[in-house]
Structures are given as C-alpha cells and as structure tokens.
C-alpha cells in the first residue's frame, strides 16, 4: 500500500527576499526550495502519495513532466530526511 505524505505541524513555508524556505520556528531545521519544491510542500496535505503528487504536477506542467518525475521524489525524500513531512 502507498503512503500519503503529510506536512508536520509547526513547519512553515515563507518567502524571504527571492528565496523560499521551509523552517521550524524553534528548531534549527530548515530547507530552501525552488518554486516546484514549494508546490510539493503545499501538496503534502496528507491526501496524496508521492506518485499522485508527481502525476498532478506533471499534468499541470506537461512541458516539464520529465524533470518533475525526476526531481519531485527527491524533494520529498529530502523533506522526509529532515523530518518536515511524514508518511501516513
């Protein structure tokens, strides 16, 4: 069975200057992302699996679908490794 991905509470996505960062207000954990990474973060609401997030983004941006299929799982792996999202 495929797990869905959910953002951990308390982590926040914010823009500062020209950068997008996901951070925890009291821990030192943070991760800088590009606009695709920010979209992935927003889609980690606990209702979609990694595969579904990839499919959704590839559908919205068909011209970048190859890159999306390569980079989105990597972004989710990084988020998981930093404890910012969890499998449900």
């Amino acid at each position: 069975m495929q797990h869905t991905i959910r953002r951990k509470p308390d982590f926040i996505l914010e823009r500062i200057d020209d950068e997008i960062v996901v951070y925890h207000p009291t821990l030192t954990t943070s991760m800088y992302c590009n606009p695709t990474g920010a979209l992935v973060w927003e889609l980690c609401d606990g209702s979609l699996t990694t595969g579904e997030i990839v499919d959704l983004l590839a559908e919205i941006y068909p011209e970048d679908s190859e890159q999306i299929r390569a980079s989105v799982p990597a972004v989710i792996d990084q988020l998981l490794a930093r404890g910012m999202v969890e499998l449900t």
Partner: protein, 378 residues
C-alpha cells in the same frame, strides 16, 4: 572587527555615514578572507541577527550563501516568534482589561512594536508585564486561565521584583511571561519603579487592534539605558541589542521625545548617547537636535566591562590574573564614560579615578557583608 560591524548595525534605520563605515569594514572582512561564521554567531548572541541582515541587504553586498541563509533563518524565526508573542500579548491585555487590571508593557514587547520598523527585528526572550503589586496574584490567576503555567520548583523569593515566569505553548513555541511588580530589580543603583510611576504618563498604542500602554518615551529611554547599558555589574551583560534599542528609540522618536524631561530624569543621558556615536554614528538630525559634541574618540570603543564582579576570581587562571586585574581596575575609557555617564576630558577622568573605584569598593563591601553574615556568596 566583528564587534565594530555589530556596533554599526545596532540601529533600526541606517544613515549614510554608518553605511560608508559598514561597507569599509565588510570590504576588509572579505579582503582578509575572514570567515563569516563568527559574525553570524555573535550577531545571534547579541540579539542582532535580524538587524545585521537588514543592513547587509541595504548595502547590497554579496553575502556568502551559508551565512546569508543562517541570517535569513534567524530573521524568519524572530519574525514568527514576535508575531506569536504579539497575539499572546493582545490576548493577555484584553483579559486584564476585562478584569480592570492596569497594565504597562515593558522591554522587548513594547520596543519591538514601537521603536523598530517591524517587530521581527527585535528578538526577545519573554513578555514583560508591569502591574500593581496588589494585582500580581489576580494577573497570575488570569494567566493560568489562559493556559500559562509556572514552574513549581524555583528559587524566586515571594518578594522578588517579578513573579515566577509563566509559560504556555502556542503553535509549538514556548511563550514566557514575566509579571513584574517593579520594573527593575531591587538594587541601590536602580530607582524604585512600580506601576504607579508609569501608568498615568504612559504611551498608548495597539497590538493586533487591542489598546495597550507602555512607558512614556522619556521613561523608556531611561529604562533601556539603565537596564541594558548601566545595569549593576553582575546583572545583564552587555549586548548590542541594548545599544540598538537606545539608538533606534532616539532616531525614530527624536521629535516626540521631550528632551527637557530626559535631562531632568536622566542627566547623564546625553553623555551616554554621545558614547554610542562611536559605535554607530548618529544622524545629522540627532546631532542638531541634541547638540552632541563627541570630542576625541575614547580608547576601547565597543569593549564592555569584563572584570570583577562580573566574572569571579575563582574562574580566573593564575596566568590570567594580571589581565583580569587590568580589566577590573582599568576598563576601557569608552565603557567608563558610557557606564558612569561622563563626558570627555576631566569628567571621564572622574569616572576612572573616582566613580569606578568607589563602585568596586561598594561591591567589595556588599560581598564582605554577605560573607560576614554567613550567607553564600552571590
């Protein structure tokens, strides 16, 4: 060089002279290929990371990636933390108003909202509330109703100038509130400062649309100087954020502050402000309004006190004794003028040869009395 850069950035709004100097020092930092890490760590220690980042951005210099991200991260955390503290403060102020408990906000929570161009620029540890002594118990009960809890095990005596800090977790962040019956610790160097002193002439503003009151601007200036720059030697250590509080308050409220009241309340104030010019140059408007005359640059600018009783003899190694003695007996002239509020020339000699030895003797006497009375050394 790090202290010089931090000193220059210890203000909300920059000015041309300050940015010229900052640019020169940053150029020197790059030329020497000095690591930025110590600068970032010191800025964090001094509560100055958001201001440092603000001024570096203003100067549009290329900050290396890692320190830039560290500063961004500290800025975001401070912004987020203060946004939550504002929500918490508004909730507390509303609850106290409903119970007709008079309240004056003090220190960081007032400064970040009134003195800085955005609240996140002024990191703080807790929310300080000043209430009447008779209302402290009711205030604590109200805070308990709002979900704040105090440590059951603590060593704060019942007659201390503030109650045991109360904490509550909001959105994963621990918010700490200190309820004061007196704004400053009870110490011979400090005037008594109960609520009655500041309630009627306080400065009104609002946080999240909730009306609140803080100290009058003149009182605020007096208080931040006493608390941050002229505290008893064993109290609050020197941090550049206290410089930023004073400088930003003066620069951002220059025309609203009644300088005659300041002169009466705090005769040494102008001398203290003059000393800060050597850390971060005042704007032309401050010079013109206050008629500051900095004179010759004193030695040891930015070097705070580092002798006894701030540091204890028992922690000093044998070979450090000469340096420790020098730091105790001959601190920097800049610090002497700042701490004792003395002007240049003969008054600064008075600080060195009369004020400072006299203060050290008072501390010796206080410690000797403790010893004789059989109490533990403080």
């Amino acid at each position: 060089m790090i202290r010089t850069i931090l000193g220059l950035c210890a203000r909300d709004r920059g000015n041309e002279s300050m940015y010229v100097l900052l640019g020169q020092h940053l150029h020197e930092l790059s030329r020497r290929q000095t690591s930025w890490e110590p600068l970032v760590h010191s800025a964090e220690h001094h509560g100055l990371a958001p201001l440092l980042y603000k001024h570096l951005k203003q100067l549009a210099i290329g900050i290396p990636l890692h320190p830039r991200r560290q500063l961004q991260s500290l800025t975001l955390r401070s912004r987020h933390a203060n946004a939550i503290r504002n929500i918490a403060t508004a909730e507390i102020a509303r609850a106290l108003a409903e119970e007709r408990i008079n309240l004056v906000l003090a220190k960081g929570i007032a400064l970040c909202n009134l003195v800085y161009s955005e609240p996140g620029l002024r990191p703080m540890r807790d929310i300080d509330l000043l209430v009447a002594d008779a209302d402290t118990a009711r205030t604590a009960a109200l805070l308990a109703d709002l979900g704040y809890r105090s440590e059951e095990r603590h060593d704060i005596p019942d007659d201390y100038y503030h109650l045991v800090p109360m904490t509550r977790s909001i959105d994963g962040m621990t918010i700490t509130v200190e309820v004061h019956r007196n704004l400053l610790p009870y110490h011979r160097q400090y005037p008594p400062w109960p609520l009655a002193r500041s309630l009627d002439n306080g400065w009104d503003f609002s946080i999240d649309d909730v009306p609140v009151r803080t100290l009058a601007l003149e009182d605020m200036l007096f208080h931040v100087a006493l608390h941050g720059l002229q505290a008893p030697l064993t109290y609050e250590p020197f941090r550049f954020i206290h410089v930023a509080d004073v400088v930003s308050l003066v620069e951002n409220h220059l025309e609203e502050i009644d300088w005659q009241v300041v002169q009466t309340l705090f005769p040494a104030g102008i001398n203290l402000l003059t000393c800060l010019h050597w850390l971060t140059p005042w704007s032309e408007s401050v010079f013109m309004k206050l008629g500051l005359e900095p004179g010759r640059r004193p030695w040891g600018v930015g070097q705070p006190y580092s002798g006894w009783p701030l540091h204890r003899f028992r922690n000093v190694r044998f070979r450090q004794v000469p340096e420790f003695a020098r730091n105790t007996l001959l601190p920097s002239l800049w610090w002497l003028r700042l701490y004792y509020g003395r002007g240049p020339g003969r008054p600064s000699m008075r600080a060195r040869w009369i004020d400072h030895p006299r203060l050290l003797l008072q501390w010796l006497k206080a410690y000797a009395l403790h010893y004789i009375r059989g109490k533990r050394w403080a």
